[in-house]
């Protein structure tokens, strides 16, 4: 489902003496449907960079990133947007929303974007928020005022609202209590069971051991200093 060939990435800082910082070279990996790959490596090794490259958030310097049959490295913005809407989900560590929008609508939005009816979208959003123990009295409020853990759970509910065939999870279990952590791991297992290809970053070793089928150390993709 996700296939990466010879991917490389460097940052050029034009305003700081045009410094070129190579951060990734010759990265190769494949994730099949129904499989979960965990990215490991020390902080700064390039785990999040790799995720952002796959999501099209960073522009690849070279190589191919195939998600389904779309090459994220070379596609037009509109093809990447369609990919993000229908195929590729991303649960980041931070919730970014329009202020004032109720939590329920934040969670239902990805479903509305793929053309689901409002009733169906809201039913699923309520189910997910319920499972993630967000109290019902908060559903009509904007998540911008929630605690860190609550925002994280709203973010997860939103990420799992649509059944994406491919998902990127950036520390989905960070800052969660044991009950909610368990729910999130269940959601990941359910996504795998329905055939989603998942790439995740898990600092929590137990969680990683439980949901990941394979691990890959991104340090091997770091360019060697010449």
């Amino acid at each position: 489902m996700i296939h990466i060939d010879n991917l490389s990435k460097s940052f050029t800082l034009h305003n700081q003496g045009s410094a070129v910082i190579p951060v990734m070279a010759d990265a190769n990996l494949t994730v099949a449907a129904g499989e979960c790959l965990a990215l490991t490596g020390a902080s700064g090794a390039g785990k999040s960079t790799l995720m952002r490259l796959i999501y099209g958030n960073y522009l690849a310097a070279g190589g191919r990133i195939l998600v389904g049959d779309v090459d994220v490295a070379t596609s037009e913005p509109r093809d990447i947007l369609q990919l993000r809407r229908e195929t590729l989900g991303y649960v980041s560590q931070f919730l970014r929303v329009v202020p004032r929008v109720p939590t329920l609508e934040v969670v239902a939005e990805p479903l509305l974007a793929v053309g689901k009816s409002p009733e169906e979208a809201l039913t699923r959003a309520k189910m997910l928020l319920g499972r993630l123990n967000i109290p019902e009295r908060l559903w009509s409020l904007s998540p911008t005022t929630f605690s860190g853990g609550e925002q994280q759970r709203v973010n997860i509910a939103r990420g799992f609202a649509h059944n994406y065939p491919a998902m990127l999870l950036d520390e989905p279990t960070a800052s969660l209590d044991p009950t909610n952590r368990e729910t999130v791991l269940h959601l990941i297992e359910e996504a795998k069971a329905r055939g989603a290809a998942i790439i995740g970053i898990f600092h929590d070793a137990d969680a990683r051991a439980r949901v990941a089928d394979r691990e890959i150390d991104v340090a091997q993709f770091t360019p060697k200093a010449a």
Partner: protein, 256 residues
């Protein structure tokens, strides 16, 4: 899918000075394009050239009209272009006073666009106007008040209602949230996003507020000195800017 708007090589000079030069892009139905850049970079010149308010010196603006398919709006006759900007297009000015009739009631402002496309039944016009005032969160009892009695944020929302009542397919916006306080701005952003999604609108939004374009736009063009220096997916341009000027722009934003 066929593009809704195809901009080819648009150039506008003010004497020897460049307004905007060699701008090319294609907008598809349902897409929102943001244009950012410092003041004087040619954003508004470009927007006015696209919307037919300024004649460009070179280039073509092809628009997929409902009746005749792709037509160049630059060479189109004036009455045809005016018809287009009353029906299929909308233009939201930075200052609502430029887009509203200040001496006519709120309902009249919305109704005028309807009458321009042939609506004549007073009751229906008033009902539609009431409905649209509700959608932009203006109380129905204010329908007979003049915009001069409205706050700046309400005027801006009224301008949006007036523009959207004829169900345009393409909306041009020049700093739609400029000069509004942040709570009104958030409300307006939420409103615009909902309208874009529910009505399948395409939009070209000029703004210098990167947070606004991040929330509203799918794609971004960065302008400097009349030229487009970078374009791409909004979050990619903002999170991984390639051009030196974009890097400067992104790194200059104050953190709240």
């Amino acid at each position: 899918m066929t593009p809704l708007l195809e901009v080819q090589n648009i150039t506008k000079r003010y004497g020897s000075r460049i307004g905007c030069a060699e701008v090319n892009f294609t907008l598809y139905p349902g897409e929102v394009m943001g244009i950012v850049g410092e003041s004087g970079s040619g954003k508004s010149t470009l927007l006015n050239c696209l919307a037919g308010h300024l004649p460009p010196d070179e280039g073509a603006v092809l628009y997929d009209t409902r009746a005749d398919g792709m037509v160049d709006t630059v060479t189109m006759s004036e009455p045809e272009r005016r018809m287009l900007s009353r029906t299929d297009w909308a233009f939201v000015h930075q200052n609502p006073r430029d887009g509203l009739r200040m001496g006519v009631s709120a309902g009249g402002n919305v109704g005028e666009r309807l009458m321009a496309v042939g609506a004549r039944h007073y009751g229906n016009i008033r009902d539609t106007a009431t409905d649209w005032l509700g959608r932009v969160e203006i109380a129905a009892e204010r329908i007979d008040d003049r915009p001069s009695a409205f706050s700046g944020g309400m005027q801006q929302r009224l301008q949006i209602a007036r523009n959207l009542v004829t169900s345009p397919r393409l909306i041009f916006m020049d700093e739609p949230t400029g000069g509004l306080d942040v709570s009104v701005q958030a409300r307006l952003l939420d409103l615009l996003r909902g309208l874009v999604r529910d009505l399948g609108l395409s939009a070209v939004i000029v703004s210098h507020d990167l947070a606004v374009v991040r929330l509203l736009a799918d794609r971004l063009m960065v302008m400097k000195g009349g030229h487009v220096v970078e374009s791409g997916l909004t979050d990619q341009v903002l999170d991984d800017p390639q051009h030196g000027y974009t890097q400067l722009l992104v790194s200059s934003v104050l953190q709240v």
